[in-house]
Subunit: 398 residues, 2 copies
Amino acid sequence: MLSEKVLSMTKQKSVIREIFEYGMARANMIGAENVYDFSIGNPSVPAPESVDRAIYDIMQEQNPVERHGYAPNAGIPEVRKTIATSLNKRFGMDYTEANIFMTNGAAASLGILFQLMKNDPEDKIITFAPFFPEYSAYAISADIQLEVISANIPSFQINFEELEAVLDEHTKAVLINSPNNPSGVVYSKETIQKLAALLEEKQKEFGHPIYIISDEPYREIVYDGFEVSYVPRFYDNTFVCYSYSKSLSLPGERIGYIAFTNKIADADIMLGAFVQSARLLSYVCVPSMFQKVVARCVADTADLSVYAKNRERLYSALTAMGYECAEPGGAFYLFMKALGDDAGTFCETAKKYDLLLVPSDSFGCPGYVRISYCVDPERIEGALPLFKKLIDEYKGEK
Amino acid sequence: MLSEKVLSMTKQKSVIREIFEYGMARANMIGAENVYDFSIGNPSVPAPESVDRAIYDIMQEQNPVERHGYAPNAGIPEVRKTIATSLNKRFGMDYTEANIFMTNGAAASLGILFQLMKNDPEDKIITFAPFFPEYSAYAISADIQLEVISANIPSFQINFEELEAVLDEHTKAVLINSPNNPSGVVYSKETIQKLAALLEEKQKEFGHPIYIISDEPYREIVYDGFEVSYVPRFYDNTFVCYSYSKSLSLPGERIGYIAFTNKIADADIMLGAFVQSARLLSYVCVPSMFQKVVARCVADTADLSVYAKNRERLYSALTAMGYECAEPGGAFYLFMKALGDDAGTFCETAKKYDLLLVPSDSFGCPGYVRISYCVDPERIEGALPLFKKLIDEYKGEK
């Protein structure tokens, strides 16, 4: 009677959520201080003080009707202008407010774009393992194919041979996510250049645009020696999907945007198309007050140094113990090779030590675990002896 | 290349938005004080002081990680519990938090439900003219038929004869909206009882549930002598879709909920189904901080008395002049019979007097205009002599 499409999603259990819930139950049994939960990518650092200041200032400066009224579908013009100006300064772009479409965060940006890309039954979007599992949900929703290129181990850069083989006339977009969830890997400038060149060639071959959707919620979390290329500088047909969830530690407020340049294919109808795509997803506007808050904090970030500290400590200690990890250039995830034959079994074994890790199977790249290190640094210190015991158990068995 | 489904929506111009934009341009020419814009249903009264107090208190009491962190998909449990308790007290229900699913406002509630109702190509939802035009967008999005029962003039209660004729085995839900946008009409208790009895009978006949979706953003705006029945007290298979946009004047913050009782068909899977339906629409969570704000203001409303004052003045003055109007029981709309043959032409004539009204064609009920009186009372006073001139012009012509 009810929608099979919707109900079938309930059968797709979220592994991450299950582990998180196990962790909460276990914490009730043995105390939260004894459970080392690395399952959830929930920012652990507070929003910067400028967010509080912005909230108080808006409360003082604006009356409630202004402050909480409907915003235009595309977002508040002044907010979009502020974001455009900030991006122009940072990346040498020439955006105006007409190039910025406010969204309810990265998920909404992707939902809007996936729906807009779908026209024919064979249409597809290509992405790269390992990938954020919700991409599959957006594809199911838009009824568009999601084709996944296998992981390029151990660099986790793009597997170009496989990509070239599957790029075809049905390819509407290529979805990248750098810094990556779950691997933490940042695509090099060379990777972006090579991707741009390949897609330019294929656009000509197929006679239609192939967009890059650049999903960038982790753009600001990038470590020494790494740089996150600004993709539209390399490839005109790029949508940048940004979110303030991680940069300003505002994940619950759902504020982000899609940016595109005037050189993108169909530039003149793009903003209107986004309005309609968002409308079909039953969005009315992005929360008014927090649009204004992020505009006032556009040059700020939360204190992200704790993630750098955790990354350094965890990566060096685990590799010293003998674990193999993808080199984390950004985000707050470490992608570590599971011991033994199966990541699921390895995670079950880790549970004995109250180490909660996520097996990588649902990210489309079996044999690894994701360690979310957006935690207090003392949790890392407490966990390290347990990781040592875990590897010792495996060494003893072999 | 881009989605025809999405792009075809851009061709459906929003009449309301066009008039609103004309009004802004005209205001620039002749001064805002000389344009009488009754086109937009945007609350004109400020949020109650308790909203400001709640914001300040939350800023003081909670740290930013708590305040702005991800909320569970279904909403913050304490918020849902507070809403449940409030509804139990008001309407004698026995809701718990498990009966309340937080949404990004009424549009999201309907988007989630429309998608959940769709399974077979013949599936349909029935609604009643005049109706809010966005219902068509939700139906297009979910790819479900929206069948519209013609208006029952002049009472604007349900046309039961026509409803009975179109209720069939493909009917998944009946969507009602009382107080109504655009007519302002409130369904009587007798109407709700009769609807419940008819649907009970049809459910038995077809052997499956027929849900009532009760879209209630205007529940709190109801005038002396009228009462908005609480539909689940009459019919178990009811979804109540509520929004704080009008009751607390927070339209830009996008906070609402869907409520259902344990007696609804498929009660045990409903909350999980909502989570998945929202996920397919790419919702992650309802804005965290404003969930907490509304929970603290659950018993409050904005000062809605200005709407009552406007309604009284406008309805009595216009009917005294000779206009025919539906009797407005609630909301902030007056539905007035257009003079002459065509509502569009009548609205064009009204424009000469700088009276901006919305023709009713897009509400599925030609021959009327919607007057949104969510404006400052002095705007009503200024407009009345112009309405007089307008009717005089028509009288002179006849």
